[in-house]
Amino acid sequence: MRRASIGARLADAGVLVGLIVFAVWSIAPMVWLVLSSLLPQLSLIAQPPQIGLTNWTLSNYLAVFGSAAALGQGIINSFVVASFTTAVALGLGAPAAYALARLSVPKSGAVVLLILATQMLPAIAVAIPLFVIISRLGLIDTRLSLIIVYLSFNLPIVIWILRGFFLGIPLGLERAAAVDGAGLIRTFWLIVLPISVPPLCAAAVFAFIESWNEFFFALILTRQNAQTVPLVISAFAGQYQTVFGQMMAAAVISIAPVIVLAILFRNHIVRGFADGMLKG
């Protein structure tokens, strides 16, 4: 015990410093984000910015809620679109990933690459054809149109992530389940899914946040009714004037639900599972 203490303490100190650097790096810009949402424009364009407490004001937030930009509706839209996209992406993606990792799919290597390849074409290239399809279907300015499009972007990533994790599951578990009498579907449902909670959460968080924040297709495919949060936020940046404080206030409000989700699921996102399993 004693022998290791100096080295161990140094290592611990290193980890602590690393964690502090990491925390500062992650949140410093966000601190500025929150701070600027509390400051009037004049304080923000001062040199240096006047961040004293006396300058703080809620006027940006009041303006955001009072303005024509429908942030509330945007949040509802984003929430519906993101939740549904996430649910469907996982619902379709997890079995597909499992099949590609462990079951017999002809040319599975090529299929995986093909699925991933759909992600490689920039959105800009598919935007106009997609717009044509969506408008022919009469789905312009509906949440459904966004869900459909986001699904196509998130599904491949979900499959690619989950497949990698499924590949890492010890073969023995599935064999044991087969011998125990579970068919392939039940093995997937009762054994594979429950032990894949961390990657499932990672994939779900990914799909949720990406759909929550997607801008380009929301811009093209929505009008007023299905506008999502990013569009609402972008409304604060005009040509002749950017109301920075208000935009940041809107941004803070729009992150809040995601942060709440992150707090609620912080254990499941990665930890809970493996820790409980292996702490011993």
Partner: protein, 317 residues
């Protein structure tokens, strides 16, 4: 590793074929049942747009005067691009950006994951910190950084000056190389969280017993990292590298808001160029050609990385 198909002749010889079929037949049946819906969904949504884009790269599609004029021109779009200095500059910028991004994001992501996986790093709040940069809408993020980096009233200059690190305010986005580097840093900041999350999930899949075993074998921290962590993360690294490559080639919002490609086209990345050519110049064919080049680059890089990161021997007994 795919298992070779059950010989049809043998199945036919079965005296009393059971309803479920052989193991392999069941694996295939369930496999198709599992993978089918996802493939059909993707094909329905993206099939036409992707084919259309690939074809459009060979067409002269110009929204001249609001009307689409279309005719086939073979490889002319590509011929043009590879002689166009603007395209070549964007290509160079993109290659620099992409390699820098993949390397930085993966290294920092791995570092963050290792820290968070340490016993000190297991506070839930740190995990929330991890998500924050990623959760902010890219539009807001870009504007946020635009203000942070502003040469006149930006907070970065103010902080650095008050710390005595700079004498006079720096025009962060003033020269092409510096602007490109800053774009890279901002994008890395935003991209690290997800990759770190991925690594964290990957780390937690490595059985702790392996570390105990390695420790007993006298492995120090570095050796544990090298011989237990890294091999254990192989698939995860492959996933991270491939995804980040694809994403780095698709960076758009930041360029659009922060620099608009300037100064002097120093921060034009291929995806932004594709956007500019498609939506500003309304040359849909050439825009599609650029998009297809991005597509090809992603594809080649993805295959290359997957191949490089493949476990060398993969035998099941």
């Amino acid at each position: 590793m795919p298992i070779i198909r059950q010989d049809g002749a043998v199945a036919a010889r079965a005296e009393a074929p059971a309803p479920t079929g052989t193991f392999e037949q069941r694996r295939r049946r369930v496999g198709l049942f599992f993978v089918g819906p996802a493939l059909i969904a993707l094909a329905l949504i993206l099939g036409y747009p992707i084919v259309r884009s690939l074809l459009m790269g060979m067409q002269n599609v110009h929204l001249a005067g609001g009307h689409i004029k279309l005719h086939w021109i073979g490889w002319a779009n590509y011929d043009y691009l590879f002689q166009d200095s603007g395209f070549l500059l964007a290509l160079r910028n993109t290659i620099l950006f992409s390699f820098g991004e993949v390397a930085l994001v993966c290294l920092l992501g791995l570092g963050a994951a290792l820290l968070l996986n340490h016993r000190f790093g297991r506070f839930g709040i740190l995990r929330v910190f991890l998500i924050i940069p990623w959760a902010i809408a890219p539009v807001a993020n870009a504007v946020l950084w635009k203000w942070i980096l502003n040469a006149n009233y930006g907070v970065l200059n103010a902080i650095l000056k008050s710390l005595g690190l700079i004498d006079h305010y720096v025009v962060w986005l003033g020269s092409p190389m510096r602007a490109l580097s800053l774009l890279l840093i901002v994008d890395v900041w935003k991209s690290v969280p997800f990759i770190a999350l991925l690594f964290l999930a990957g780390l937690q899949r490595i059985p702790k017993i392996l570390y105990r075993a390695a420790k007993l074998d006298g492995a120090n921290a570095w050796n544990q990292f090298r011989f237990v962590t890294m091999p254990g993360l192989r698939t995860t690294i492959a996933i991270a590298v491939v995804l980040q490559t694809i994403w780095s080639l698709r960076v758009f919002d930041l360029v659009f808001v922060l620099t608009h490609g300037g100064p002097a086209d120093g921060t034009v990345l291929l995806n932004f160029l594709a956007y500019r050519v498609t939506f500003n110049f309304l040359n849909l064919g050439r825009g599609a050609a650029i998009a297809n080049i991005i597509f090809a680059m992603s594809f080649v890089l993805a295959i290359l990385y997957v191949w490089l990161l493949q476990p060398r021997r993969r035998l099941s007994s």
